[in-house]
Symmetry: C2
């Protein structure tokens, strides 16, 4: 156990060094988060398919409940319940478009994780930093519960619970609880809790801040104690269902899965779930009485309960959809919490975009019209008025606009176009457009994954640490 403690201390120290300019000490925030004594009981696993370039290396590392696809390196690291999907890694000679530059890849992209401390975290690759296209590093970064690191190299940063860093290279940053950052490249920033920030330098800037008092009911985190609130209760209540899928080695799917769709064997599927063609259900997704139309997806750590998704809907990482009906082509962003109730369903019209980190929590039926953009905290019609807009109207913004707690600067039309392009890319990458021959994506290529489980040393100095494991094709 000693070496594991030493490793943890070193990671904390390094992050503190990186954050010294922000005068921040992560020590009290971290020490309650990781159940060191339980580290020997966890096991890690990783997926192997013929479709993903394999080069896993774990050196003197600890990792638990992981899921790796594609190239990777983990050196002297702590991880915990991480999904690190290398399924969109760039390959040698691929061309990467950055502004007017076409940059050819010098070598195959790799993920590197070093001296990192990530818990219950998703790291999804596709590095967008044009300076380090071949590397997807995550060095001394501490990422707490349900934080997402998505397409985002990071270094020396601290991510609070349910924080998301998306397509953003962060260095020496503090990302507050439930904050969402999609901002290109940032360093030495202290992002307050409940910040939703989408920036494309010189093109647009979207900023929303949650009213903290109200957000605290959902998620509240302070030094010295574990995070709490409705989000935590929600996931804790459903924890047990995952026990079985993680306890058993081979699990046959409990629903019928079309040959063009993919249901991860580590997802929880409750009756009466329906999976259509081209659907992707990822690891640690939770589906209960969920009807998924053609090309819809349920990404890692998403929950879809008593809901119907008509087709080509995106349920991003960590999003929750409860008692809702979604038209076609609805996008539900990272960590959204959309909770209708049996007597008061939530309806979302087709082509709508629910911004990442949106909370909709209603006690009366609520209808979001087709083609709308929704953000922030919505508990009734009035909130909806303050926190939504038709995409058509939004595209007309030319310089500056504010509504409720949201401020927008720049080109609304660029914002909408960029968002729609990304949605198209996500559907494409996930295999929603597969026609039986071409347009294969994750739904088709992530079928038939071999899962390999590994356990750490059970005793001695190295208790809780894993031996070095190198896997090559």
């Amino acid at each position: 156990m000693k070496e594991l403690e030493r490793l943890l201390d070193r990671v904390i120290q390094r992050v503190n060094i990186n954050l010294r300019e922000l005068e921040y000490d992560v020590n009290p925030l971290v020490h309650n988060l990781i159940p060191l004594n339980q580290m020997t009981k966890f096991y890690a696993f990783y997926g192997i398919t013929p479709n993903h370039p394999l080069n896993l290396q774990f050196r003197h590392s600890n990792l638990a409940g992981s899921y790796f696809l594609g190239r990777c390196r983990v050196t002297n690291s702590l991880l915990y319940k991480s999904d690190i999907r290398g399924d969109e890694l760039k390959q040698k000679d691929d061309l990467f478009q950055y502004q007017e530059f076409e940059i050819p890849m010098a070598e195959d992209e790799e993920i590197e994780i070093e001296d990192s401390f990530l818990i219950k975290t998703l790291v999804h690759n596709f590095s967008h930093d044009p300076e380090t296209l071949e590397k997807f590093f995550i060095k001394d970064t501490i990422s707490t519960q349900y934080a997402n690191i998505h397409g985002s190299p990071s270094n020396g940063s601290f991510l609070g619970p349910f924080a998301t860093v998306d397509l953003t290279t962060i260095r020496d940053c503090l990302i507050g609880t439930f904050s969402y950052i999609q901002a290109g490249e940032v360093s030495h920033l202290n992002i307050e809790p409940g910040t939703v920030w989408v920036r494309s330098p010189e093109t647009f800037n979207f900023l929303y801040r949650f009213p903290l008092q109200r957000l605290n009911n959902y998620i509240y985190f302070t030094a010295g104690s574990s995070p709490r609130g409705i989000f935590i209760d929600f996931v804790e209540d459903r924890k047990e269902a995952f026990q079985r899928v993680f306890d058993v080695l081979n699990l046959e799917p409990s629903v019928s899965v079309p040959s063009s769709a993919s249901l991860d064997r580590f997802a929880v599927i409750k009756p009466k779930t329906h999976i259509s063609e081209n659907v992707l259900v990822s690891q640690r997704a939770y589906l209960q009485n969920a009807w998924l139309g053609k090309g819809a997806n349920a990404q890692e750590q998403s929950y879809i309960i008593n809901s119907r998704l008509e087709g080509n809907d995106i349920t991003a990482h960590g999003a929750k959809i409860i008692e809702a009906r979604l038209g076609k082509d609805v996008f539900v962003g990272f960590n959204c919490f959309l909770r209708g109730r049996p007597e008061s369903q939530l309806t979302i019209g087709k082509d709508s975009i629910i911004m990442p980190h949106t909370i909709i929590d209603i006690h009366k039926p609520l209808k979001i019209p087709a083609g709308h953009l929704v953000w922030g905290l919505v508990t009734n019609e009035k909130d909806l008025d303050n926190n939504s807009m038709s995409l058509k109207a939004f595209a007309k913004i030319e310089t500056r606009f504010s509504k409720g707690d949201m401020i927008f600067e720049g080109s609304g039309s660029e914002f909408v176009t960029t968002f729609k392009e990304r949605i198209h890319h996500i559907l494409e990458a996930n295999g929603a457009f597969f026609n039986g021959i071409s347009n294969k994506g994750h739904a088709q290529q992530n079928q038939n994954i071999s899962f390999n489980t590994i356990q750490p040393y059970p005793k001695g100095e190295k208790e809780g640490l894993y031996p070095t494991i190198i896997i090559r094709p």
Copy 2:
């Protein structure tokens, strides 16, 4: 799947080249044995503890249901349900006594397995070949169901079902069904089925041949079909019980296990089994209503059913003990099949030695007196007279002796002494003499094993093959 088939063909070809002097073609013997189509469904696993030197490397290999402890290498190989225990590997600078030579180890001993095809096989290390003390190679060898390779480097050989090669380096040999060979070093030999041969060159030579007609009821194997007979029925009937222990990732023991004893989590334990101090129950052992006294052991693939072992009893790999009562210090050798019946129990007096590959199958109660040596096939009192002798009497043989189908040449006293020393070594190595402080053995050191499971490629050219996996401390 193609690469897997290619690999199998290559191994068969190499063994055939090695066996060309014996004019033998293993092709028709092998093709029914390995369920190639199921190879993708199997998974392999290996154990990790702080007490065993770790250096596993699997390169382009296939392996399924394995169990590795200690250093190992597997190159371009097929294995299947193998236990390869590296828990008695010699270390650098250890002194190995061979006749008048004290040979220091040049480096840590390693196991190497290359282009091999082993199914349902145990390979237990501790190489005794003074020429290759640091290597425990098993190159192009095909070993069929329930064969044991024990302390025995081997190359270019074919082992029939339930064959055992014990402390014998074999090269280019055919070892017939249910034959037991402990003969130092042999090459280019064709050992007939049902041969029990224990030789210490220039000291003694023990030879027994089973009456083939009678042996065929127990185990019969011929080209083009699967082995059949009572042995196969017996293990097949109990196969299902193993399903559960292999399907689940973590399994809590169902009986109380003293802190000085060790119960492998891949053993099957049925009520009402009792485990005393210093007991070792190994992987794939099967215990049902079994009472194990202090220091008794149940080694890999042994079965103990409705039986009582008083203490310091050895149940060697693959031995079956049914409806029997064993006094203290009874040795039951490899693949023995001792079957009493509820109305006709088998009783074995203390200090007796049941030779490896002995069949006792009775319909009337039978008592073996204390301090006896038993061999061959015994179904009644008369058989017992023909196939047993007191160890005291045996020790008096000085030149040559025969009884029933057994022939002995050389020093009976050396034979008994050598056997007793080995029994003492086995008990010692297994931790039977642990006093709470010293004399630790496998029962104490094989506790708290981490188990790691790996699965092969699920699809494509490499279907059924594993990626290269390197594990280091």
